[in-house]
Homo-oligomer: 405 residues x 2
């Protein structure tokens, strides 16, 4: 299929943002500005694919370079986002909107669902014989897109949650309340929760138990695990995925309401950690708290990973560059070299290999008991968080063991 090598550009952002999502936007805009003639449109659609359908445009040539640099470091989707499952019919409508404006490049920055949107746009353009280059730019803190070593947004969220586990450990270790359960985002994938492994340096460091959605969590296992750690050292920090389920496949989170589904029909999980903390308190007689930073974990620019930020920008630049070379229907992928030092390159993978698929946490990195992550995972995740975590000092190697109850 012939693809135009010059022309107008539309960029949109879908799904939940990450702290580096606008670095990718900036990367595309910068490269497009460099490679296209000054008369080409470089537009943003406000509010994701809905912004295309409703023709809500922003001229992305307008902001100054100074403003762009600040936008690139700002959390939250600068263009606004949506969660919309695009029908075939709507995809054709959206393509016709782009056709009307003579748009030849369409970039969608997002996660699994957004890659579905990008693919549908690619297919609709093809069916309508309209020459439109469609490109997906990966972005998800969940790290669950297939065909890429990791996803922009993940490294910063991993840094945030690992630092949070360090901080929480320092607090709980010295506290009369001996148990805290930290809830971690990531939907049905455990990548982010598993990253709390990085908080550990000394043998008794938090978190002491890590539960990911890839393994069912039985009530009895939780209680047995917590009691065991408590008996060993007198305090327990648990990291648990928001998507964790019991043996019957039921979410541990109380559903907030039947209305709580997103535009793709995904159920929005309730408070998992709160429920588990209640269980520990009532069944074991150990006072347990829960912490749930939630969206703070993907919007905290103070804890951004420098590696993640750089890669997010580069992914955008590569995406435009590859599209400009005449390719379409692809997502940018990050490939890691096998060499020992961290080194990556960018490639393109077909959107059809990516859309709607979820890459779960690898079983070989799960510890036997289903309550921990193997150290092997550290080598994967550590380079992504962009430098060492803030560490604290102790006056005494062991905590006070609080009186039970």
């Amino acid at each position: 299929m012939f693809v135009s090598r010059s022309g107008n550009v539309v960029i949109a952002q879908g799904g939940g943002p990450a702290v580096v999502i606008n670095a990718s936007l900036y990367g595309i805009v910068r490269e497009a500005t460099r490679k296209l003639s000054g008369s080409s449109k470089i537009w943003g659609a406000r509010g994701g694919i809905e912004g295309v359908l409703q023709e809500r445009w922003l001229d992305l040539r307008e902001p100054s370079e100074h403003l762009w640099k600040s936008i690139a470091n700002s959390p939250g989707a600068a263009l606004g986002s949506c969660r919309k499952m695009l029908s075939t019919q709507e995809a054709r409508e959206a393509v016709r909107v782009l056709q009307k404006e003579d748009i030849r490049y369409f970039f969608y920055i997002g996660g699994n669902d957004s890659m579905d949107t990008a693919l549908k746009m690619h297919q609709a353009a093809s069916a309508l014989h309209y020459e439109l280059t469609c490109c997906g730019i990966p972005k998800t803190i969940d790290n669950d897109l297939p065909c890429t070593d990791h996803c922009p947004g993940f490294g910063s969220a991993a840094r945030y949650i690992a630092q949070s586990a360090v901080d929480l450990g320092a607090d709980i270790r010295a506290l009369p309340t001996p148990v805290s359960i930290l809830e971690v985002m990531g939907r049905d994938a455990g990548w982010l929760t598993a990253a709390t492994l990085l908080a550990r340096q000394d043998p008794d460091d938090a978190p002491h138990l890590i539960y990911v959605p890839e393994r069912p969590l039985a009530r009895e296992s939780l209680l047995r695990d917590v009691q065991k750690i408590y008996d060993q050292q007198g305090w327990v920090v648990v990291a648990v995925s928001e998507g964790v389920k019991d043996e019957k496949g039921e979410s541990w989170g109380a559903p907030r309401s039947e209305k709580m589904v997103d535009g793709f029909g995904h159920k929005l999980p309730g408070d998992v950690a709160f429920r588990l903390a209640g269980l520990v308190t009532s069944e074991l007689g150990l006072r347990a708290r829960s912490e749930k930073p939630g969206l703070l974990g993907r919007s905290c620019a103070l804890m951004v990973s420098s590696v993640d930020r750089r890669e997010a920008r580069e992914v955008g630049k590569f995406g435009f560059s590859w599209a400009h070379k005449g390719h379409s229907g692809f997502m940018v992928s990050i490939c890691r070299d096998d060499s020992r030092a961290y080194s990556i390159e960018y490639k393109a993978v077909p959107l059809s290999d990516v859309a709607n698929l979820t890459r779960l946490f690898p079983p070989e990195c799960l510890a036997e008991g289903g309550n921990d992550i193997k150290e092997a995972y550290r080598a994967y995740v550590e380079p992504l968080i962009g430098g060492p975590l803030l560490r604290y000092s102790r006056l005494h190697p062991s905590p006070i063991r609080p009186a039970k109850g």
Copy 2:
């Protein structure tokens, strides 16, 4: 009463820590080392007043200056903490333990309950005719100790939660999920929740509603307030205190378990924000989330306030210095000058004026509707957070208004 001007020292930490709690510890140790002869003991009791009763000592002269500087910047009570309501009998036992070791200075770093402990120790020593200088060093993120302009620990926690409101606003503003409810610590006082006011710069900045425990929150008021803001601008961030109650005085937080009371009999609140988010979703049909950073808000050393850290150390130094001059039965207080620039001095107030009292958020800073904080509060809290918050940029002044439901 004559008080010894040389002698041995015991320091302990009570209640929940703050990120600067060890700066106060360092301040006392540093001043004691300077003013006492090298043969004087400078001990820490491990695990609060229980550590005294159980004679769990740490020699605080041992750590190097290098380690001390690191400890001073570490969150979590370095000595370990407890929550114990001391009986008169136990206070006498504790004094006898100190007497056995010829301890002449007793410092207790903590909040309201800890000041009660310090006072009981002072009274017990007096009753036993043992010359013991008892000093309370204030520390609470709740900022609810009377007789002081503010409390060490509060400024950093205020910085954390205000920055969190900025971050959350940037995320939610661009998101299809239009409502987020941020739960803030602070028990029965609204000081910390009110500090989210600092997140606001532009007229539509988060948080849009602020609920503190000093005013009852009726179900209908919440729903009306959220709907109104949503109708105006299409997204809503709410800051709510963990201690907020309904018109009948019932906590909005579901009690986790009847067992969830601390050593002082205080009920530990459940998830307020989670319940309110459920209400908004089911009653208004607006998808609402909740975020509850919990203990992360008092243990995040990355967001420490430089002002708070300095004052925490100085409060410790002043405490020792004042005690060394022969005073006893006091808490160190921070007094703010009336002059325009931020300027403070340290004073001593009788522990009997402080113990067990809670200084609630001032009614004159509450907005009429009970759903906001007056701008006047900004002048009070802004100097305490130690510099401006991290601010972000926008591509477009107004967010996409998401389709309702």
